[in-house]
Amino acid sequence: MTMTHAASAKRHSPPPAWRKPVLMGAPLVLLLVAFLVFPVGQLLALSVYNGQGFTLAPYAQLFASSLYVTVLWITLKISLATTLVAVVAAYPVAYLISIAKGPAKSRLIFWVLLSFWTSFLVRAFAWVVILGRNGVVNSTLMSLGIIDSPADLLYGFGAVLVGMVHAMLPLAVMTMLAVMENIDRTLPRAAGTLGAKPGTAFWTVYFPLSLPGVAASAIMVFVSAIGFFIVPALLGGRKETMITQLIIDQVQQTLNWGLAGAISVLLLTVVLVVFVLYDRVFGFASLTGESAVVRNRDTAMRRLGGRVLAALGSASDALIGLLPRRHPLRGRSEKPVALTAFVWLLLVLISLPAFLMIPLSVGKGGLAWPPSGFTLQWYQQLLDSPIWMQALWRSIVVAFGTGLLSMAIGVPAAFLMVRSRMRGKGAMLAFILSPIVVPRMIIAVGMFYVFAQMGLVGTILGLVIGHTVVAVPYVVMTMMAVLRNYDTRLDLAAQSLGARPLAALRHVTFPILGAGMLSSFLFAFATSFDELTISLFSSGGLSATLPKQFWDEVTLQVSPVIAAVSTGLLLFVATLIFVADRLRRRSLAG
């Protein structure tokens, strides 16, 4: 119980202060340098270097015809429209979740998460079925006699916008929610006691505080949308081609790496400009939910903004005043009925498409609506297909590998980001999060180029590395959030009670952080399980993952087996969320 001489004798000088941070941060930094910076750099370099020397030929080609600029313009238009609609629709959902309590809150979050984690592919494919010539909408309208020949709903701007908004809405909600949860609930109420009516209190107090969340979700949606290709490829026509699709063409069909590099430079430039603007106005800190403080801006802008908000406030109060008054004294505790109804309608709408896959997967009539009869033949075909089964198995292995690797290098980095006071932390965090910022397509193509040289194409290891690069920022972010809520005095207490650092981790830190760590792991697992862009290139021709196999089937021939796969994925995700939530609750209950 007294300490040993040996133990204290070796501690006469302080241990070097740099060693721990380096050990904790280095693996992640090395991974990103080797498999993000290097590949993307290679790809960009290919646009000005053709094997013999410097060239600008790809750029000449890029600007020779109006094609690429037009596509860039379309891409921006679709991305901006998607951002606008998704953010506006997400606001009431996030707001309701942030004010809800107990089981109501859990239910709301469950449905948002279900959409969030349901494969992009499944959701995009569902719209093909809904909007197709024999799809849900057309059959319904025709059977009601409203139209007598099917309308062309697919392959247009409207279809793409619907699909994109549907794909991005859950992301918008989750990002916004992170900020809204941190807004002090008492502030709008304080405004009330100071004489502000509810509308004014909302628009002049709550809304400005929630703006960083709106901004964060807008930029996340915009950046994801601009690098997206699944929705425009499945739901868009010629006129809705997005720039990422051109990159795929250059790499897969014409093998023109120089041009692919040049297009990537163009895309990356647009994204960087957007990010610089964002940082100027809001600061990156708001992205991680760290601070909900908007930096001081131009005062004229501020004054104008203030007036607009005050006007909105008075307008809402006037509208509220027109409504029949309910018992004024009980009014305060009343539930926001209209808001709740609206949000649930929205949640049903975003969940429904994936659920349509269930009846179709057991119907005899293929993918036409309405389904007829009952059969399990599609499931039988699925189980009998070695291609699907191998893809499933490969996806599970890769996702597990990605989860483990991401945790192994992401958790120490998150500890470093939250606990240390080192210099350059902001820069390091920005670097760690950069895989989210760089459009996925550029990462995927660059990685393919590098993997090909290293012989990693078509290997499990290659996929695990590739998926870890894009999954690890999410692990770091979720772990940072978890660690910020963790009382570090518990570690100190454990150490003062005699626990060595590893014992303190094992007996105290990890058990308490267990639920948070599990959800980080699941985040990485699910990111990998649903990853298509990197797998599209790096899985090689023969060793497809589940999303890659799905993609190949959908783009080549559409069979009801897809509906069976979709149903399976949906149930898998629902189970996962349910189990994760159960585990979280059990750990909270002690």
Binding site: R11, A494, Q495, H507
Partner: protein, 371 residues
Amino acid sequence: MSSSSLSVQGLAKRYGDFVALAPTDLVVADGEFLTLLGPSGSGKTTLLSLLAGLVPPDGGSVRIGSQDVTYAPPYERDIGVVFQNYALFPHMTIEENIAFPLKMRKVGAADAKRRAREALEMVHLPHIAGRYPRELSGGQQQRVALARCMVYKPSIILMDEPLGALDKKLREHMQLEIKRLHREMGTTVVYVTHDQEEAMTMSDRICLMNAGRIEQLGTPADLYFRPRSLFVADFLGESNILPAALRSRSGDEVEIGLGTQGIPGRALANGNDLPPGTEVRVMVRPQNLTVARGAGNAAGGLQGRVSEVMVTGSLTKVYMEPLDGKLPPLVAAFPTRNEADAVRIDDVLTLSWSGRDAVVIADAARAAGTA
């Protein structure tokens, strides 16, 4: 109480340019109850954390017993720490919490369980072993934290404002409890608080801190009756601090003249060896002022007009404006009397005191100015 259990030399800590603890020397005797007292931000937690090895120092050394532990991690020091918010492990039962340090010391499970139960009995909570921390009240959590710290009999226990979150009644109860346990176990305790009453009731010695340094170290009576600086006089309870000039010295007492009129009085020199004529401050505690009604016998005594009377149970406090307008307001305290002869607002009172109950405080700023 003879050998030193803990000694600190030149111990210092900076955060960037900010000096959280200036180089500090401190020796704590075996079995002593030493309190670090001071306003918030004065460096108490910093000093305690350095003793516990929770943060590394920028200089100086820490010895526990005969060992230099300056850079030893907490788990290699033979200490126990009670944290302000208890830091009970939320995922362990009370018994598991208490058995944790034993488990870390490789004590067998059965033995650990028995000792954990004993520790719980010592803090009068034998029935809650199977519960989780959040199922306990603040006072119970506090006692569990104590039990967890004492179960492995560390040679030193460090406590950082352990009673800060409790209400007054519970706090007083726990103060007695901690004193009792300290007596029974004979452990050295370093205790942090910003509450001067708590420090006075519990400590063998008080180490009063201010702005990252030790302002004065001594018994509660030393600090209360013989403060070395205005800060100390002011921090420990109410006092009258009056400007005065030294007249003459006799033994350890001095003759003084108060205020502009040079009202005569006596005070302890308190080790200050200053020449006659030096401007100083004189401190008298309210309860050491004797109050007489009316203008008194000798014209020119210290007189005040009553501006406020407060009855706080057993004591009555009287606040006065001195008739010599240059003196600060005065406060006197005496046992509450029957209403018949109670003091009323606007009464004029005459105040006197014994030379043993007043003390000279060298006024560093003014001394420097006149030198």
